[in-house]
Symmetry: C2
Subunit: 317 residues, 2 copies
């Protein structure tokens, strides 16, 4: 906590873009680190990665209603803006701007810019985001979808999630106009989707994938870890341990994905977890493979108590 550089806090889209343009005219390069706040050391590692590539750092803090379905509870998503600012002031090299907009779906028409924040029960609610359910008539209706990459893994249980992520990231790119943007590889599918979107839509932003940050005991850092009791937290270590074991098994010649997956599922469920998915997929296409014969990533989502935890390990053969 040596430095105490105070970031500029910007809440207005236009002011944000003007800042970026004034910096670009001076020949400065800008990296964007998009977050939903409630920052932990995983986020800080993204900022450190940003510093390796660009001269100026913009951290966005915005809980995006477009990626929550109305059956998910956006109102209880954890936030701590002052705590976040404090953490950002301690980052080595500092942060230049915190972009913290009120509502990125407010287009100046009061009637149309309402975003639903209450949870709605039922299956149908899962197919409508908080943005759509609150918008009557001429509201937000443009969505960016990465068709295939978004269908599997987390896309199966959260059909609107990646559409919401790709859309808000497009908005942020158009507002901040960064040269670089940093995404964590813990959210492996999200990172690949953003890379593909940037390529397919010709965004002039270079995407940097940042390695997973782990606690000392190996648990992948996540805002959701606060939901774990200390007992659950201990049990959740089974995810990372099983992934490391799988990688080790491959190195020893076990390449059948069926066996590798079954072994991991067994271990996590024996520890008391509930596996949402455990899949070994191609690193680029995210399509499931039967044998590990090319670079793959072993992706896991599992529930421990109230927390749905994600983790993964790349296996390069």
């Amino acid at each position: 906590m040596a430095e105490t550089k105070e970031p500029l806090i910007i809440r207005d889209k236009l002011q944000m873009r003007n800042w970026s343009r004034s910096m670009r005219i001076q020949g400065k390069t800008i990296a964007l680190v998009p977050t939903m706040g409630f920052l932990h050391n995983g986020h800080i590692s993204l900022i450190n990665e940003a510093h390796k590539n660009a001269q100026l750092i913009v951290v966005s803090i915005y809980v995006n209603p477009g990626q929550f379905s109305t059956s998910e509870d956006i109102s209880t998503y954890p936030s701590d803006f002052n705590g976040d600012l404090k953490k950002l002031m301690g980052v080595s090299g500092g942060v230049d701007v915190v972009f913290n907009p009120y509502n990125l779906y407010d287009y100046g028409d009061e009637r149309e810019s309402v975003v639903r924040r209450e949870k709605v029960e039922g299956v149908a609610a899962a197919a409508v985001s908080c943005v759509e359910s609150g918008a009557a008539g001429g509201g937000h209706e443009t969505w960016v979808r990465v068709e295939k990459l978004g269908n599997g893994l987390c896309g199966r249980s959260r059909p609107l999630f990646f559409r919401g992520v790709a859309t808000v990231v497009s908005k942020l790119f158009n507002i901040v106009e960064p040269d670089f943007a940093v995404f964590g590889k813990k959210d492996y599918q999200q990172w690949r989707i953003i890379c593909r979107m940037v390529r397919d839509l010709d965004f002039s932003v270079q995407i940097i994938g940042s390695e997973i940050m782990r606690e000392d005991d190996g648990l992948a850092m996540s805002s959701r870890n606060v939901y774990l009791s200390s007992e659950e937290r201990q049990k959740a270590l089974s995810i990372n341990k099983s992934l490391s074991k799988a990688k080790h098994s491959v190195a020893q010649g076990l390449i059948k994905c069926k066996e590798l997956r079954e072994s991991l599922i067994l271990a996590v469920e024996e520890a008391g977890g509930k596996v949402d998915y455990a899949e070994i997929v191609d690193q680029q296409s995210l399509e499931a493979v039967e044998e590990v014969k090319s670079p793959v990533v072993f992706c896991v989502a599992a529930w421990f108590g109230k927390a749905r935890l994600l983790d993964n390990i790349e296996i390069n053969v």
Copy 2:
């Protein structure tokens, strides 16, 4: 044809963006006029409109496979690049750049960048664009969709069309980085969709809607008019005449859309046309109205011979 300013022809994405950035650094403003080539005076009017707003003009000429379904025939889409260049050299004030990329869906992987150019028969073919059908595996898969505005009018018979338009326009915006872009109001739905997309995704591009250009006899200018025999051309005037008559009727107090529509459909079909749709819709939401009590647009698509012609008239009450 007083001037003979020769435009710079750019075929490479990166070179295009570099040109724009070098101009922006000099404080110049840029307007983009996106076209599919085979230029006529309607296009020239878009360029004239561009000159009123920006210092530099980029005209893109690109037949976008992403907006053709495989049941439509992209290979016979008319083109005349040299003729287009000649016309552009005659434009008052000139054109600075013609951006004429080979393939905007070529991402450097030979296997994945094939675009299907043959027509495929059958209903299923209508649900896949020429980009998707030619891409095996890791090809282009990111699409921008303006959900509601794209569903009605032309969206009903061409379910992929506006998705393809919004996507290629996003790509062009990210490559050219213009300050302005000009779209013709003849394609009214397209214009509204682009406006909404720009707002919803926070593109920093100002969209200019350019009024419909008509031949001396009132026929809306279109690349498709070349498909009309002289007899069909004469009969096709019924569209514009009926639209003007409808506007006149409204001014005289007839506000029932049912009657206005029936009267137009009758006139066009008596002239030998086949009406695809004739709808009176809100200018912003493009939702059908029952009575003309607020600004509407009367949109028509009708077949004469092999040509599907579009026309419309705004009625501001």
